[in-house]
């Protein structure tokens, strides 16, 4: 058996694949953050709570309304996205143009309120979301047992990520969006409805978080704290990739998943810290992030 630093190659392949799966979650979440920051200049601290809401919407929908997983995959992001639109219209709009700190505090406060209420309602142990029948089981790849659901996570997350990237970088709507980021006043002068664009962007970013939440529901415990545990890592990913860079967020998300996966094999104790170490190094060498443009 071929060994790499004392670890069989087959084991390493397995871990890399798992890293990629985690990376797709990071990519999906950091993409939403990056889009929101790109256009609204808001550091959306409620992203973790919105991810949690996505998972809970799927869970509650299944138990009270009988909505199955596939429908939830569509309906839950839609519902939470609408909620996001409400937040943008009702709250974030009022602090547009103010210092970043206001947005950060507002969204952080919202997250605390939502998570606190859910702890009160559902307890901290949370609940379990059953795996959809179609995605149960798995395949033996020779070097590892790959559950079908994890394979689905990669496919679903990457499809959504690249579709989003395509929409923003390659379509007319995307070009408005990017232009709006550069110079909103000028865009408005050209007759583009920038406020609507901003609202929809926030809604879409939030919907991405909710989508990730539904994807996560069958494999992680659905708990009120599930988002806040993940959020800090995702922020680190966004900082490494460069705030506001779409491709940066996707690529960095996947790469960090891989690096974290390797750390779990060679030095598991550091698995939670390795991303922050990389963040520090990146900030020292390229303060704007790997894919960010120097301001």
């Amino acid at each position: 058996m071929t060994l790499v630093f004392g670890v069989p190659l087959s084991v390493l392949f397995g871990q890399l694949l798992l890293g990629l799966i985690n990376g797709s979650f990071y990519a999906l979440l950091s993409l939403g953050l990056a889009i929101i920051f790109g256009l609204l200049r808001i550091i959306n601290f409620a992203h973790g709570a919105q991810y949690m809401l996505g998972a809970f919407a799927a869970f509650l929908g299944l138990n009270y309304l009988g909505i199955n997983y596939w429908a939830a995959l569509l309906l839950s992001p839609l519902l939470i996205g609408l909620l996001g639109i409400g937040i943008e219209r009702g709250l974030l709009r009022r602090i547009a143009g103010e210092d970043h700190l206001y947005g950060l505090l507002l969204t952080f406060g919202l997250a605390l309120i939502v998570e606190g209420s859910f702890v009160k309602l559902f307890g901290v142990s949370g609940s379990s979301y059953p795996m959809p029948e179609l995605l149960k089981g798995g395949h033996n790849l020779g070097f590892m047992f790959l559950p079908t659901y994890r394979a689905w996570v990669i496919v679903a997350a990457l499809t959504v990520c690249f579709a989003t990237w395509y929409m923003i970088e390659r379509t007319r709507l995307g070009s408005y969006l990017r232009a709006g980021t550069e110079n909103p006043k000028l865009m408005q002068a050209f007759g583009i409805n920038v406020p609507l664009l901003v609202t929809l962007t926030y809604g879409y970013g939030v919907a991405l978080a909710a989508f990730a939440g539904v994807l996560a529901a069958p494999i992680y415990a659905v708990t009120p704290g599930m988002g806040s545990n993940l959020l800090i890592v995702v922020f680190a990913v966004v900082v490494i990739g460069g705030m506001g860079s779409i491709m940066g967020a996707i690529v960095t998300g996947l790469a960090m998943g891989l690096i974290e996966g390797l750390t779990k094999v060679f030095y598991p104790e550091a698995a939670n810290t390795v991303i922050f170490v990389i963040m520090v190094l990146v900030l020292l060498m390229r303060p704007a992030g790997l894919f960010g443009k120097e301001a």
Binding site: V119, R150, Y220, T223, E269, A270
Partner: protein, 404 residues
């Protein structure tokens, strides 16, 4: 004149005796503090439900002991040792609290117990796991009631070993509790002729366990032991089920698993899991009756920690009633003298190291087909006699034991 002096002296002495007797209940109130995690990871196994269990015990006394009112204070320790210790210090210094109970996260408990000892008060610990509480950190001022890491590792590991699980892989939460648990498991496994083929220490808390489960799977061990707790255990078990660990013939042994964890995960994921518990609501008539009362008030079934809080508080209040005093040493001695016989324990006894020794139960999680209700989750496989379950005094490092 002489007569007068004598009478005066007699009056003085008798009034002194009378006032001394009155002062036996300090402040004319029995003051109890409830310190627990009310909002974090351990909320569901202790939290507001534990406070309700304490209130039930007080109500069963009619809110008073011999006309002296029972008063409670409660606080959230946020699982932070400094917050817990400061709260207890305030309770003792400013409110003359006589007894503190609840007490969940081991790190908080070790800090709070020190304050209780300095203040000369009593702590009845129900939630915490670390067996060091009555070993190297024992004191005459606290009693560890419900369970500990030694009893859990001992009960579960022994049963799994006897069932043929010889080689072990341990998944450990990388902090004090996990390390203690890992050591306790290793000891039991090696003493019984098994071997530990690998361990992996994961950061606390973690959300994704797929990598660790894959490593455990790759190790080829018969048994994968989970030396973690709460959400970490829940996620480990879910991931193990997803990756087909049990289908491939490996077994899982959860070390610190509470009823609310099993309820949250569901039987599909947890069926067949062996674990050790200090109490189960469906274990006998008395337990069922109490659990039903609790469920009506709280809306969910009690964990062993909730039951332990009720049992400890009741035993304490009985001792106060018997002695007519809330003085720590007096009550502590009375509590140790009387066996614990209630819905929680039969013939439980409090040892000099502060360990309340009672029977533990080896249980197996039911299959969905066996379960007849939302909370019908365990079947009791074996009652582990108290003396076998807990660390024997002969191995104790407690200063109260070794000095004798």
């Amino acid at each position: 004149m002489k007569m007068l002096k004598k009478t005066a002296a007699a009056v003085l002495v008798s009034s002194m005796i009378a006032s001394a007797a009155q002062a036996e209940i300090s402040n004319d109130e029995i003051r109890i503090g409830y310190l627990a995690d009310m909002s974090g990871t351990y909320r569901d196994l202790s939290g507001p439900g534990g406070l309700e269990a304490l209130n039930m015990a007080i109500e069963d006394f009619g809110g008073t002991v011999d006309g002296k009112k029972i008063v409670t204070f409660n606080a959230d320790d946020l699982n932070k040792p400094d917050v817990g210790a400061n709260t207890v210090r305030q309770w003792i210094d400013e409110r003359n609290v006589d007894m503190v109970t609840g007490l969940v996260a081991s790190s908080v408990v070790l800090a709070a117990a020190k304050v209780v000892e300095q203040g000369g008060k009593l702590a009845l610990i129900s939630g915490a796991a670390a067996s060091s509480i009555t070993n190297e950190f024992c004191s005459p001022n606290h009693i560890h009631w419900t369970y500990d890491t030694f009893a859990l590792a001992n009960g579960t590991a022994n049963a799994v070993l006897k069932d043929g699980g010889k080689s072990w892989f341990i998944l450990t939460a990388d902090y004090a509790f996990g390390h203690a648990m890992e050591a306790d498991i290793k000891k039991v496994v090696e003493a019984e002729g098994g071997s530990v083929v690998g361990t992996v220490r994961h950061p606390f808390p973690s959300s994704d366990f797929s990598s660790y489960i894959l490593q455990a799977q790759g190790s080829g061990a018969d048994v994968i032991a989970l030396a973690n707790a709460g959400a970490d255990t829940v996620n480990s078990l879910k991931t193990a089920s997803e990756f087909g660990v049990t289908q491939s013939g490996q077994r899982l042994a959860g070390m610190v698993v509470f009823l609310n964890d099993i309820h949250a995960m569901g039987l599909d994921v947890t069926q067949g899991l062996m674990l050790t518990t200090g109490w189960y609501w469906d274990m006998d008539e008395e337990a069922r009756a109490w659990a039903k009362r609790y469920e009506e008030r709280v809306g969910s079934m009690p964990t062993m920690v909730h039951a332990g809080i009720y049992s400890a508080a009741t035993h304490y209040l009985n001792a106060v009633k018997e002695t007519g005093s809330d003085d720590t040493a007096t009550v502590r001695a009375q509590m140790a003298k009387t066996p614990v016989n209630d819905m929680f324990a039969k013939n439980g006894k409090i040892r000099e190291d502060g360990r309340m020794v009672h029977d533990m139960y080896l249980v197996q999680v039911k299959t969905p087909a066996e379960s007849k209700g939302e909370w019908d989750l365990y079947k009791v496989i074996r009652t582990i006699p108290g003396d076998e379950a807990f660390r024997p005094l002969s191995e104790s490092q407690c200063k109260l034991v070794t000095q004798n």
